[in-house]
């Protein structure tokens, strides 16, 4: 389904499309049959599943794979489970904020706290998204190289797919296509099962949560990278804008919460599968702690044969493509909100070129960087995760202030347990970052 192009008709196309979507939702809501309830649920879910699965991006897959290879199954499986809960608590707040205000995150910060924090958040988001997009194209090119596709062709192919999906599909179709792509993320689950891991070791990880090799600066760096890939500033901006563009209202919050919960569960399952896979095959090998993603794919291939290698590569490509779609949209939405441009994926490119341009340009630049010979891509990947986790407390702070602003949120302000949880998350992030900072300033401390 393409976007409406009405030529000189005075009808506001994106408003018409959204009104049609809302009428469909209201019709389903007023029906009492089970089929209509299922259809209603399937219609309203989307942003939560998308944001969570897109968070298992190429950088995330690489980080989880390297974590499993370096530290085994032990410490990080309970940590990932905790990360999933944290991600749910944080992202659920964006659902309520978007459904109540009908404004995106960038728009809220800009309008409520002024241009300094508006520029800060926007600059942080755009730079972080750009760096993250580089890691997505790394994943796409590395994954496609397993199938013999040269990096130039795979980078251009990824960019073209991203552009076509964003420019030519209306919001609803864009969301559905993206969710189908997200389904490919589940490929890591059968791979983990094919590894025949020692489930006793997995269970023991929950009983004896110990830090393998002790707390070192390198360990803290990996912890930060893992949290950076579990919760990231772009996720707040993306899901809130997505909720607004989809046209969800306060009546849809419950479905939005389920949507986010399902997405969190899927994210955790896939992340654990990757750690189990590489923790089973690569952990304990000489030099496993320094394996790059190509070496990890080779190790998977040694154990599972060509099909295992191909499936892992396919998962890496899928994670890169999905996250590219999400990050591109996130940048475009944020820029559109900050500068009050027309901003909806329902709009044709001819009328909203300003909205589409920033996201697509950032994707094109990222694809170009990946093709530069000898660019320090592995280093860049970890840097992205760490930078994101450092800025996350700032993003969380704005989210918390907005969710406690009764003038904006009315009866939908945070409840006590939500505030306690969110402040605990901010505290955890600050402590982790502080420990990392201390390890830098006082290297002999750990």
């Amino acid at each position: 389904m393409t976007k409406i192009r009405s030529g000189s008709a005075p009808v506001n196309d994106e408003v018409l499309l959204r009104a049609q979507d809302r009428a469909y939702v209201e019709t389903l809501r007023r029906s009492s049959g089970w089929l209509q309830r299922v259809l209603l649920a399937m219609t309203l879910v989307g942003p939560g599943i998308l944001v969570m699965i897109a968070d298992n991006d190429a950088g995330g897959v690489i980080t989880y794979a390297q974590t499993g290879a370096t530290y085994g199954i032990g410490f990080f499986i309970p940590a990932i489970l905790l990360g999933g809960l944290i991600a749910y608590v944080v992202q659920e707040m964006t659902v309520r904020l978007g459904a109540v205000t009908h404004r995106g995150h960038a728009e809220m910060i800009w309008g409520r706290y002024g241009s300094f924090w508006g520029w800060f958040s926007l600059g942080d988001l755009v730079v972080a998204n750009m760096l993250t997009l580089v890691t997505e194209f790394i994943g796409i090119t590395v994954g496609m190289s397993i199938f013999g596709v040269p990096p130039f062709a795979s980078a251009v192919g990824g960019l073209v797919a991203d552009t076509v999906i964003l420019l030519f599909l209306r919001y609803r179709t864009w969301e559905r296509v993206s969710i189908w792509i997200a389904g490919g993320n589940l490929v890591f689950v059968p791979l983990a099962l094919m590894a025949h891991p020692h489930w006793g070791v997995v269970a023991a990880a929950f009983r004896h949560w110990t830090v393998p090799g002790g707390v070192t600066a390198a360990f803290l760096f990996v912890v930060l990278a893992n949290f950076g890939t579990t919760i990231a500033p772009w996720m707040l901006f993306f899901q809130q804008s997505s909720v607004v563009d989809k046209g969800l209202t306060v009546a849809d919050v419950r479905h939005g919460q389920w949507d986010t919960a399902i997405g969190s569960a899927a994210m955790v399952v896939v992340a654990i599968a990757i750690v189990v896979l590489t923790g089973t095959f690569a952990f304990g090998r000489p030099g496993a702690g320094t394996y790059d993603i190509q070496q990890i794919i080779l190790v998977v291939g040694q154990h599972l044969g060509r099909s295992g290698e191909d499936l892992f590569a396919l998962g890496l490509v899928e994670s890169g493509v999905l996250a590219t779609i999400a990050l591109t949209a996130s940048t475009s939405w944020a820029m559109g909100e900050a500068f009050r441009w027309p901003k909806s994926i329902n709009m044709p490119a001819s009328r909203a070129w300003q909205f589409y341009l920033p996201g697509l340009v950032s994707a094109a630049v990222a694809a170009g960087i990946v093709l530069i010979p000898h660019a320090p891509l592995g280093f860049l990947n970890l840097t992205v995760q760490v930078v994101a986790s450092i800025f996350m407390p700032a993003a969380m702070l704005f989210l918390l202030l907005l969710l406690n602003d009764r003038e904006i949120m009315g009866e939908h302000v945070n409840r006590r347990w939500q505030n306690v949880s969110a402040w605990a998350i901010v505290g955890l992030l600050v402590v982790l970052n502080g420990l990392y900072g201390a390890s830098v300033a006082l290297p002999k401390l750990f």
């Binding site: 009908h102 404004r103 409520r112 209202t249 700032a394 702070l397």
Partner: protein
């Protein structure tokens, strides 16, 4: 465009789609303090990460 099947229900206009009015607030009291803390935190962390990367910690 989507082809509708079955009965077409007449629904009331969806109310709540208009964006909430947004006015800038001047941070006061604890919120002002939080904002200054945030500025300090960001500067310190950026400096530490720069030092970390300069030393090749990764």
């Amino acid at each position: 465009m989507r082809q509708k099947h079955g009965t077409l229900h007449i629904v009331e206009p969806v109310d709540l789609e208009a964006p909430v009015p947004l006015t800038r607030i001047a941070p006061k009291g604890p919120i002002r303090l939080v904002f200054w803390g945030l500025r300090a935190y960001i500067l310190v962390m950026l400096a530490l990460v720069a030092i970390g990367f300069a030393r090749g910690l990764h």
